[in-house]
């Protein structure tokens, strides 16, 4: 008997892990241990009817693009692809692990799209179809263009350098004939000139754009130096001169393109994180046509007045009025309220809420951008305007650096013309100044640090979404926390588990696992639902009932379980459930929203580092006060509406503070956008994640001090890099102005300074001080 029970439990556990999407990596189990993704993060996952997104290619085959959740390792790729390919109709199933996308092509008519998708979902990988046209591929194209330019510049730099080394060697030993030197110069010119013309384009275009707008950016001195160096070297070659700078011009491009590519890669990674969140919102809606038939369409095709069917477990695609049915809606996205509200025919419902217990029929009143969700997005965009003015450190420096370099070069030209009397010599020296001051190390100073820092944060499950987020985070002095879902888990947990007999708890769990109600899910999480399947009826707004071993079992509110109004003395009032089996005494289940793990440690750590901490919450005063006292935070405000939160942050900014906002709810999204920089947990509303500059996975709040720490170290390294670059300039510029610099010295100085900057940035990797420990 015991064995049978154990087996059952085992099979159930497998079932459950599949629910969590943790069934992957069962072969290796390597990656999963590191990933702390509570399964509940996926319960509100938006799944849409895929048939609305199926396209047809020119051969008549069906195609579908989907986003895949929960992929962790090679085994996941294999499982998904093999499962799909085992169907004979499937022509192509390809997972892109970097972007977490899945492309599927199959002979239409031979396989049902629902079956294919379900087979993958059953493995534990939730899928969301998306419309590939929604993704702007501009960033990816830019990346490819830069990579191509980088390849050309690298090829040219290597070959020209090879020839240059021969020339330099000849100059030293003094036995190279002028004919050989000229020949080598001509070959260098033939490689370098086309390479400069091709690989320099990203810089030339940006410099032209800046000049047209009447500004100067870093690309102006770069373009000028590269073009002048190449042009002057060509003139020297024609006159069979001694010194040419072909190697300097292409190596400069090569180094700078590396910096530019890394910068762009970081930015497009940030952008794809934002795009993904937008795509997850692409939900299909089921229309009820006048003749009673159902049709699945993309949500954009729903017009006001049409009737929409909302199944249990669907997110509402539109604002509307309930036409038929009764159910409970999870409105936490809109209000932050953790308990669901009951809706009946005639009630107003809003897009973004989540249908929990029974199918509904909704008459759409507002769609798309006109929904309440759209309003909040607009409030958020308005708040974001203020932040767009932030100028990045590198650009601020370029604002001073570029004019200084140009004045210096011009002064060198004039000086040499007056003293040497020849304008050719003067031009040569001026170009040498431009080349030597060209911000090769400056171009690498920021991107390399950024890449190393984002890589380190990614290992901890922290996603850098804004390219300049790290710079802004390092300046923070005030940290503002939201309460529900940020300092707390944002979900209710059973608190009186010890008072409930094991048997009762398990019986409750057997009922509860049939419901998506947050209280029921809290019960299902702690109880082991071993036993035969129960035919459970869900009564919206009341509870669950079933018949078990001949007696009726009810799990629900007081009235539903006919509990007399008993005294609650000794217990604080809060969310509760009751279980009544047959005529026996009803048992109470009490719930509470618990603190996130690491909340205490994180707050203490931040306080000890001298940050001012504040709590802004939409919740009731008593609840916020209790929590603030427990955490030792003196500065808190309760009952804040989204506008109040924005205003508080604006007043902080107006006082000259740089606030960091940490929040998760939809009601926090405008505040996240209004803050100097913002952070969201991955369990946050989509909109909040879009607004936030950083998103952290997992439940541990220590991610907040960790992110700030890395940002501060990154800023220190960037400043060090700039100092190193300036130090190099301080030595090299006098040499260049004095006319001592030869192409050989320029090449050595340039490579050495770039190398030093890169090595200094990599120190962030070695930094072993771990905030978590």
């Amino acid at each position: 008997m015991a064995e049978v029970a154990l087996e059952k439990r085992e099979s159930l556990r497998v079932d459950r892990t599949h629910d969590l999407g943790a069934g992957c990596c069962s072969g290796g189990g390597l990656a999963l241990a590191a990933v702390s993704t509570p399964g509940d993060d996926y319960t509100d996952f938006v799944s849409a009817d895929p048939s609305a997104f199926v396209e047809t290619d020119q051969d008549g085959n069906a195609m579908l693009h989907m986003l895949v959740e929960n992929m962790h390792c090679a085994n996941c790729i294999k499982m998904i692809e093999q499962t799909l390919k085992s169907n004979d109709a499937v022509l192509d199933a390809r997972v892109n692990f970097s972007t977490r996308r899945l492309f599927l092509r199959w002979r239409s008519g031979e396989a049902e799209v629902g079956d294919l998708v379900r087979s993958v979902i059953a493995l534990g990988y939730p899928l969301t179809p998306y419309n590939p046209e929604m993704i702007r591929s501009a960033a990816a194209e830019e990346n490819t263009r830069l990579l191509r330019a980088l390849a050309v510049a690298g090829f040219a730099a290597a070959n020209v350098m090879l020839l240059s080394v021969s020339v330099w060697a000849g100059l030293f030993s003094d036995d190279m004939g002028p004919a050989t030197r000229d020949f080598l110069h001509w070959v260098s010119a033939m490689i370098a000139l086309p390479a400069v013309a091709y690989a320099g384009q990203p810089f030339f275009k940006s410099a032209l754009g800046a000049l047209r707008a009447g500004r100067v950016n870093m690309d102006v001195p770069i373009s000028l130096a590269v073009i002048l160096a190449a042009g002057m070297s060509l003139a020297e070659t024609i006159q069979s001169g001694l010194h040419v700078y072909f190697d300097a011009s292409v190596t400069l491009l090569f180094f700078l393109l590396i910096g530019r590519y890394l910068d762009n890669a970081a930015r497009s990674k940030a952008r794809s994180a934002a795009e993904r969140l937008v795509m997850l919102k692409a939900v299909a809606a089921t229309l009820i046509l006048p003749d009673g038939s159902r049709k699945t369409v993309p949500v954009e095709a729903v017009t006001p007045g049409s009737r929409v069917q909302i199944m249990t477990g669907d997110r509402l695609p539109v604002d509307g009025v309930v036409a038929a049915g009764q159910s409970e809606l999870d409105v936490s996205l809109i209000t932050g309220e953790s308990l669901p509200t009951v809706v009946n025919a005639g009630d107003n419902v809003f897009a973004g809420t989540f249908n929990l217990s029974a199918p509904l029929e909704v008459r759409a009143t507002k769609t798309g951008d006109n929904t309440l969700l759209g309003d909040i997005v607009r409030l958020m965009e308005a708040a974001e305007q203020g932040r767009a003015k932030y100028v990045r450190l590198a650009d601020r420096i370029a604002g001073y650096y570029a004019p200084a370099v140009h004045i210096l070069a011009a002064a060198t030209f004039v000086g040499w013309w007056i003293f040497a009397g020849s304008w050719q010599v003067a031009l040569m020296q001026a170009v040498a100044v431009l080349i030597i001051t060209c911000p090769c190390a400056l171009g690498l100073a920021v991107p390399v640090v950024q890449v190393v820092a984002s890589g380190r944060l990614l290992l901890k499950g922290i996603l850098v979404k804004a390219a300049d987020g790290l710079e802004r985070l390092a300046e923070v002095d005030v940290i503002v926390f939201d309460k529900t879902g940020t300092l707390t888990e944002g979900r209710l947990d059973l608190v009186n588990r010890d008072d409930i007999p094991e048997e009762t708890l398990n019986l409750a769990a057997r009922l509860a696992r049939n419901s998506r109600h947050p209280l029921a899910m809290a019960v299902a999480r702690v109880g082991s639902a071993v036993g035969s399947h129960l035919a459970v009826t869900e009564c919206p707004g009341l509870g669950l009932k079933a018949v078990c071993s001949g007696e009726e079992v009810r799990l629900g509110n007081r009235e539903f379980c006919s509990v007399a109004a008993l005294d609650n003395s000794g217990f604080p009032p809060g969310p509760e459930l009751w279980l009544r089996a047959g005529q026996r005494e009803a048992v109470q289940f009490r719930f509470k929203d618990r603190l996130r793990p690491g909340a205490h440690a994180a707050i203490n750590k931040l306080k000890s580092r001298g940050y001012a901490i504040e709590i802004l919450s939409g919740d009731r005063t008593e609840v916020v006060e209790e929590l603030a006292t427990a955490l030792g935070v003196e500065n808190w405000r309760a009952q804040q509406k989204p506008e109040d939160k924005v205003n508080r942050l604006k007043s902080l900014v107006a006082k000259g503070n740089k606030p960091l906002m940490v929040g998760d709810g939809l009601n926090d999204a405008p505040a996240l956008a209004a803050a100097h920089v913002s952070l969201s947990p991955a369990s946050a509303a989509d909109i909040s994640q879009t607004a936030a500059d950083f998103v952290f996975q997992g439940r541990d709040l220590l991610a907040v001090p960790e992110t700030i720490y890395v940002a501060c170290v990154a800023r220190r390294l960037i400043l060090q890099n700039f100092s190193l670059a300036f130090l190099y300039n301080a030595i090299a510029i006098p040499l260049a102005v004095a006319g001592i610099v030869t192409p050989l010295i320029a090449a050595i100085a340039m490579s050495a300074s770039s190398l030093v900057v890169c090595l200094n940035s990599l120190r962030l990797r070695l930094e072993r001080t771990d905030v978590q420990s």
Binding site: C73, A74, N75, I77, K78, V95, N96, F97, S98, T99, T144, L147, R148, A151, V152, F155, A158, N159, L162, L163, G177, T180, F183, L184, V187, I191
Partner: protein, 51 residues
């Protein structure tokens, strides 16, 4: 030094070959899923290949 007449074109040709190979790999989409490529190496071949 007349050997340079042959050597430099040979060196350039080889370098150009590398460049062309890189541009081809870029065009054929081999840089679109770098993380995936790193993981796919761990996937065993089809079982019937192992027999």
């Amino acid at each position: 030094m007349s050997v340079l007449i042959y050597l430099i074109p040979v060196a350039l040709f080889l370098g150009g070959l590398g460049l062309a190979a890189f541009l081809w790999s870029l065009k054929s989409g081999q840089y679109e899923d770098l993380d995936g490529a790193a993981n796919r190496i761990l996937i065993d071949d089809e079982e019937d290949d192992l027999s």
